[in-house]
Subunit: 334 residues, 2 copies
């Protein structure tokens, strides 16, 4: 295909140009037998318990330091499945492309999807491509859905108990601030999205045999929103310590400049693990052996002192209730 071309509406017609795009660019890149069959759907092997998840990605800009919308689309769904205690296996991938997008940009994104699938051990087995008129989209939106085989059943916020340790796998706020800076035309070399697949890290954690209550990746809404979700409408509280939460100095500086709070900024390569206190050390040790978990830290614990609330002990010794995110701090961050 001539990569200097741009996408026109007839690439979405379901006719010859659609076939050409799919058969010449997308299918060869994501090469596997299920996808190559080009049927209405893919027929794949099953498993007794499945995890199933979906996300639509509308990030702006589509290329940002540390990743792009293609890599993000794979990691996002892989991570959601991994958080269910499942091994991610199959993805669907659906594009909504705005008329006028450069084919060369689409090609870069498809290559990025290919690479991340390879790294994460998943296959895109089915897909769809639609084209909308100029001004009815923004270059490209991608939806992925994914299927995984549940290997570690029973992860559930309902299992959380007073005394449990709250672990975060690394520095928070990297993705949100990197995308916001990039959108403002202030992309920095030292500030990259943390966009990464966490299925390997999850397996490492769960293979320790620790009493893991729940895993969650704090994306939109950030760490503070995800922790709130665990305890809202329960008798439990989560108490964290500000000084224990890993935040990169350049992320803190960018947040100060943009008027953001790293605890509410999206992450795309971090997880929260709530685990029985006696197993925390073992889990942290296992996480430290991985690239994605090398900065893992216990940041607090579960209690019943402030039912339904997330409470942070600040650096100045005070206590602050952290609510879920209100308003649109960071639109189109993922």
């Amino acid at each position: 295909m001539n990569m200097e071309e741009i996408i026109t509406l007839d690439y979405g017609s379901g006719g010859k140009k659609t076939s050409r795009l799919i058969e010449k660019m997308i299918v060869p890149a994501l090469d596997n037998p299920a996808l190559a069959a080009l049927g209405d759907g893919a027929v794949i092997e099953g498993f007794p318990k499945l995890a199933f998840s979906t996300d639509s990605f509308v990030v702006d800009p589509i290329f940002f330091p540390g990743g792009d919308i293609g890599k993000l689309s794979v990691c996002g769904t892989v991570n959601d499945i991994a958080m269910c205690g499942a091994e991610p296996k199959y993805l669907s991938c659906s594009f909504i492309i705005e008329e006028g997008m450069a084919l060369s940009d689409l090609e870069k994104i498809v290559e990025s999807i290919r690479l991340q699938c390879e790294k994460s051990g998943v296959q895109v087995v089915t897909g769809d491509t639609k084209v909308v008129e100029k001004g009815r989209g923004d270059k490209i939106y991608i939806n992925t859905a994914g299927i995984g085989f549940v290997k570690y059943p029973g992860l559930d916020p309902k299992n959380i108990q007073p005394g449990d340790s709250v672990i975060v796998s690394g520095t928070v706020g990297d993705h949100g601030t990197a995308v916001m800076l990039s959108r403002s035309g202030m992309a920095q070399v030292e500030l990259k999205s943390d966009c990464a697949a966490l299925n390997g890290l999850c397996e490492k954690i769960l293979d320790t045999g620790a009493k893991v209550r729940v895993l969650r990746d704090p994306t939109r809404g950030g760490l503070a929103t995800s922790l709130n979700e665990f305890v809202e409408n329960t008798e439990l509280s989560i108490e964290i310590e500000e000084k224990l939460i890993p935040v990169k100095p350049q992320v803190q500086a960018a947040c100060d400049m943009l008027g953001l709070d790293p605890l509410y900024c999206a992450n795309e390569g971090k997880l929260i693990c709530i685990v029985a206190a006696e197993d925390a050390e073992k889990v942290i040790a296992a996480m430290h052996e991985t690239e994605e978990g090398r900065d893992a830290a216990v940041i607090g614990s579960v209690s019943d002192r402030y039912p339904g609330k997330l409470v942070m002990q600040t650096g100045f010794g005070g206590r602050r209730v952290l609510q879920k995110l209100t308003g649109a701090q960071l639109p189109r961050i993922c």
Copy 2:
């Protein structure tokens, strides 16, 4: 929720407003335990062989005679799974909403999804909601992905043989023309989209025990494009007869007016079934017992006379090669 409200960007922030929308409107409507858990993904029962499919829906307008984008999103994916010889079971559902959409319109669409899921015997078990700025979308785009349990393995265009009968389940071009007329502000009562779930019809066909080679729903690109896909790059041809193809008079009239061809117009409630000639009568009889297949007809057969081609005997006794759709006859039709 106050349904006079409109969607603002903070409904997509991942914070409080996102939770409110999901928990107060979407989850109650699509009520089931897997979705209510609100985890990163759903944990569901599995099966030895799965069918997996996805489609993004960008139809314009979102409400049209015979359906809306919600009903279409369920039927489209249910049908793709049914065409794999599978029983559709679980759907994911992901919204990309344009800022400014009326909450009441969203509510109607969610209700339409609920109703169609009930009719088709499927459950939405996981989902996602994003909001984009005004002018970066068009009211709402919906992606569904679906999982089905393969009950009738082996359907494959590779099984098609010379002599096989080509069956279409009913009138063609209804969806495409209904949407186009509606878009032009010329919606007619007598011309409705055929939008319908075909899983019941597929089961009926496959339960006859007939030698069914392949099932396909001719959506974008229409009947002529789907038939082309079966024979392109093979030694086989498909020969059809114009006078055998069911077309509603009002669809033909609308096509004549709009300069369209019903054979290239999208269908959303029709299927093509290629079956061993000796079983065609049995299959037609079974189809006629259903609402969705009551106008089913044999429209031609497979041969090896024109390798790789679809050839139509016209009403005037001539022969015409029908190519795949070229150009964007009907953008944003599904």
